[in-house]
C-alpha cells in the first residue's frame, strides 16, 4: 500500500515551499518520523517527516 507524504501544516498561511533536497532515494527503507525531504519556506528550511515506516517507491 502506498502512502502520500503531504506538506504538514507548518503555521498559519504557510502552504507552500520549494523542495530543495530529497533525503531518501527509491528503494530506501525508512522509519516512521524519519525526515524524507527538505522544503524551504519563507522563514526556514523544514525537514518533512514520513508519517509511516516502509520503503520508498
Amino acid at each position: 500500500m502506498s502512502t502520500e507524504v503531504k506538506l504538514p501544516d507548518i503555521g498559519e498561511g504557510v502552504t507552500e515551499g520549494e523542495l530543495v533536497k530529497w533525503l531518501v532515494k527509491v528503494g530506501d527503507k525508512i522509519d516512521v518520523d524519519q525526515a524524507v525531504v527538505e522544503v524551504m519556506t519563507d522563514k526556514a528550511t523544514v525537514e518533512v517527516p514520513s508519517p509511516v515506516a516502509g520503503e520508498v517507491k
Binding site: P8, E12, V39, D42, K43
Partner: protein
C-alpha cells in the same frame, strides 16, 4: 521579476511539526479560538516547543493596530472588539496543557483606551489565582510609554516582564512601526524594573537587519544602564515576501560571540543563537530554575545573600 526566496544557510533548519502532543494542543487552541504567536509569526520552532508542551499565547486577537516591517501578524483596526472571556479561556487552556512556565504576549491595541493593559493584567491575575505555582512571563507592547497603564500590568505581578527593543537605535524607524521607538521601549523596561526591582526584566534583539557591531554594543550598554536582567539574540527571518529582507545571516559563532559579550556586561541570563526567539524554551528552563530558587529562598528566609551574588559566584567557579 518573480519573487525569489533567499537561500538559507545550513543552520536555519527545523523539523516540521507533528506528533500527538502537537496535534492535541493545536486542536484545543482552535476550539477555544485562542491565538498563539507561534502560529501568527510563523515561528520555525513551533514543532519543538509544542511537542514539549510549551506555547506562547497571543492575547486580544490576531489583528494588531501596528505594522512593523519584520512581523507577519495582520495589521488592522479591531475597533475596540475584545473577548472578555479570554482571561478565563487562557487559564483553562493552560491548565489542560500541563505547563509550568508560560509566556503571554499580545497584539498592540492602540484602539483601546488603556491599549489593552487592563485585559492583559486580568489574564495574569486569573492565572496566578488558579495556578499560583505557575511561572508567568509577559511580553508586552510599549503602551505609548504611558506608565499609568504599564503600571497596571506590572502590578499584576508577572514573574518576568519582557518588552522587546527589537533592534539597534538607528534602525528603529526602518524596522518598527513609526509609533514605536528606542527611548520609549527603554523607558518601559526601566519603569518595570524600578517598580518591582525583585522581579526580572527581559528584552530581545533581532540580528541580520543591517546593524553594526558597535551599535549592538551600545544597545547592550543602554540595557545594562536600566538594569535589564535578560537579553536574547536571534536571527531575523523574513516571514513573507512583503517584509524586510534579511541583510545578513549571522553564523552560530557570531551568535556565540554576542552571548559571551553580553554575559561579560553582567546580564543575568543571555540566550543567543540563530533560532532563538524571545520566548524560546532554552531561556525558560534557566529562568524557571532562577525563579523557583528565588521563591524557595523567600519561603525559607535562610539566606540574606542576594540571588544575583549566588549566580555570579557559581559562574566564577566554572
Amino acid at each position: 521579476m518573480a519573487y525569489q526566496r533567499q537561500p538559507k544557510p545550513s543552520w536555519i533548519k527545523v523539523k516540521a511539526p507533528g506528533g500527538e502532543e502537537y496535534t492535541r494542543i493545536k486542536d484545543m487552541l482552535g476550539q477555544l479560538k485562542l491565538a498563539t504567536v507561534c502560529q501568527e509569526a510563523r515561528c520555525p520552532n513551533m514543532a519543538e516547543c509544542w511537542g514539549g508542551g510549551t506555547a506562547t499565547f497571543m492575547l486580544m486577537g490576531e489583528v494588531c493596530t501596528r505594522g512593523c516591517r519584520f512581523c507577519s501578524v495582520k495589521t488592522g483596526n479591531p475597533k475596540g472588539a475584545i473577548d472578555s472571556d479570554e482571561p478565563q479561556k487562557v487559564g483553562y487552556a493552560i491548565s489542560q496543557m500541563g505547563l509550568d512556565y508560560i509566556v503571554l504576549t499580545s497584539v498592540d491595541r492602540d484602539d483601546l483606551p488603556d491599549q489593552g493593559a487592563g485585559h492583559f493584567a486580568q489574564t495574569v491575575e486569573v492565572i496566578k489565582r488558579h495556578q499560583p505555582e505557575l511561572i508567568v512571563e509577559v511580553l508586552t507592547p510599549d503602551f505609548w510609554g504611558n506608565m499609568g497603564v504599564v503600571g497596571r500590568l506590572v502590578d499584576s505581578k508577572p514573574d518576568v516582564f519582557a518588552h522587546n527593543i527589537e533592534t539597534v537605535e538607528r534602525l528603529q524607524k526602518r524596522v518598527r512601526d513609526p509609533r514605536a521607538n528606542y527611548a520609549q521601549s527603554m523607558s518601559v523596561l526601566d519603569f518595570a524594573k524600578k517598580r518591582h526591582p525583585e522581579r526580572y526584566t527581559k528584552t530581545s534583539i533581532m540580528l541580520g537587519l543591517g546593524e553594526e557591531h558597535d551599535e549592538i554594543d551600545q544597545c547592550l550598554r543602554d540595557l545594562r544602564e536600566i538594569d535589564c536582567d535578560v537579553v536574547t539574540f536571534g536571527q531575523y527571518l523574513q516571514p513573507t515576501k512583503l517584509k524586510l529582507r534579511v541583510d545578513k545571516f549571522y553564523t552560530p559563532e557570531e551568535f556565540a560571540y554576542w552571548q559571551k559579550r553580553a554575559e561579560e556586561m553582567g546580564f543575568l541570563y543571555v540566550a543567543s543563537g540563530p533560532l532563538v526567539r524571545s520566548s524560546y524554551r532554552a531561556g525558560e528552563f534557566f529562568m524557571k530554575g532562577v525563579i523557583e530558587r528565588k521563591r524557595q529562598q523567600e519561603v525559607n528566609e535562610l539566606s540574606d545573600r542576594s540571588l544575583l551574588d549566588e549566580i555570579y559566584e557559581t559562574r566564577m567557579q566554572k
